[in-house]
């Protein structure tokens, strides 16, 4: 199997969707506690995309987005990226800082650390779900944050995928509190050897 991702079949995708579901469910619970609101989650979309299609997600390559990147370590290694579109990032920061919901997003130190913390909590709850399902020890590292064009942010996980594959595995989560939606995209990029370990631990290979 030359191309790790193209080698995945529909059954593998179902398993990954299920991980996405459980992981995002945990993340939604964490988010609900953080925001003190009821948060619902839609069934995540799991897709395999060509690189040339990557920048079309999130409203185009030049759309400003917030990206939170963390390395994962333990029994498997790799990286994980959580991406929020700008309206979602603004909404989360405004709710958490008690500002009017429509206030502009100042990309200052305070909102950066709020967003980093959100990324931390979401990624942490996601990874603990994965860890529980697989019995693998998976720990997140300290996250890094950037706000820029979607294409530029997405190039980071895309390059990681590019080392072993010609496609990208992409999971989209939509969280909503009924009227305001927070759309977050998640890329889990296991390092080369970790892919097999992960699927094996899930009992699918």
């Amino acid at each position: 199997m030359n191309d790790t991702i193209s080698g995945l079949n529909n059954f593998h995708l179902d398993v990954l969707r299920e991980i996405g579901n459980i992981g995002a469910g945990n993340a939604a619970t964490a988010l609900a506690m953080l925001l003190d609101k009821r948060i619902e989650m839609k069934v995540p979309q799991v897709r395999i995309m060509k690189f040339s299609e990557v920048s079309d997600v999130l409203g185009g390559a030049e759309t400003p987005v917030v990206g939170i990147l963390l390395r994962i370590q333990g029994d498997i290694s790799g990286s994980m990226m959580f991406i929020l579109d700008e309206p979602s990032a603004r909404l989360l920061v405004n709710i958490l800082m008690g500002k009017p919901l429509e206030a502009d997003l100042d990309f200052d130190e305070m909102s950066s650390s709020v967003l980093t913390e959100i990324g931390n909590i979401l990624a942490g709850s996601y990874l603990s779900a994965l860890s529980n399902m697989t019995n693998l020890r998976i720990m997140p590292d300290v996250p890094a944050l950037a706000m820029d064009m979607a294409g530029a942010i997405l190039s980071v996980p895309a390059i990681e995928f590019g080392k072993t594959s010609d496609t990208v595995l992409y999971i989209e989560n939509v969280f909503t509190d009924g009227h305001d939606s927070v759309i977050g995209d998640l890329f889990l990029v296991p390092d080369d050897l970790s892919y097999g370990k992960l699927l094996k631990a899930l009992g699918v290979v």
């Binding site: 030359n2 191309d3 193209s6 690189f51 040339s52 299609e53 990557v54 920048s55 185009g60 390559a61 030049e62 400003p64 990206g67 990147l69 390395r71 590292d141 300290v142 890094a144 944050l145 950037a146 820029d148 064009m149 979607a150 294409g151 530029a152 942010i153 997405l154 190039s155 980071v156 895309a158 390059i159 990681e160 590019g162 080392k163 072993t164 010609d166």
Partner: protein, 161 residues
């Protein structure tokens, strides 16, 4: 009006004058813009990684600096360009995320820039302008009119190379 042709991540395109080639949201990737000074042919490739030495058999060649530039030159020759008339401008190679730890895979932008320069030097193609490095994304537009390269950013303005 010139037609605007989009070059996606890990893609390459060439065009005859008059045309505009653009690639959106370059991060650690590099956009390599080639211009034939005699017949105004243009070419662009959006590479992601420095070297095809890690490639599997099925790999997309436009994703690497070495094979991407090679194939782009071949396509420019096919529409009548001579390598001796071609000049290059390059942009991208940013480090989008700053990590406390010195993780090698995070310096991919810098390695892409170095590899791109080495490959172009191998073909004796002069790099007449570059906008590389930093920690921000770039959109580039290459015009066949005069070979000018427009570089757009969020927060760092627009410039012409």
């Amino acid at each position: 009006m010139s037609q605007i042709i989009k070059v996606g991540m890990a893609e390459l395109k060439v065009a005859r004058h008059p045309a505009i080639l653009t690639t959106l949201g370059l991060g650690s990737c590099i956009g390599i813009a080639l211009y034939d000074r005699i017949n105004k042919n243009i070419g662009m490739v959006h590479i992601m990684l420095p070297s095809s030495s890690i490639a599997t058999a099925s790999a997309n060649r436009a994703k690497f600096a070495d094979t991407g530039i090679h194939d782009l030159l071949e396509e420019m020759k096919m529409i009548g360009s001579d390598v001796r008339n071609i000049v290059a401008k390059i942009a991208g190679g940013a480090q989008m995320f700053a990590f406390a730890t010195n993780n090698d895979s995070m310096k991919i932008g810098q390695r892409n820039t170095e590899a791109t320069k080495a490959v172009l030097a191998g073909y004796r193609i002069p790099i007449i302008a570059e906008d590389t490095g930093g920690n921000y994304g770039r959109t580039i537009e290459l015009s066949s009119e005069d070979g000018s390269l427009k570089v757009k950013t969020i927060g760092f303005g627009i410039k012409y190379l």
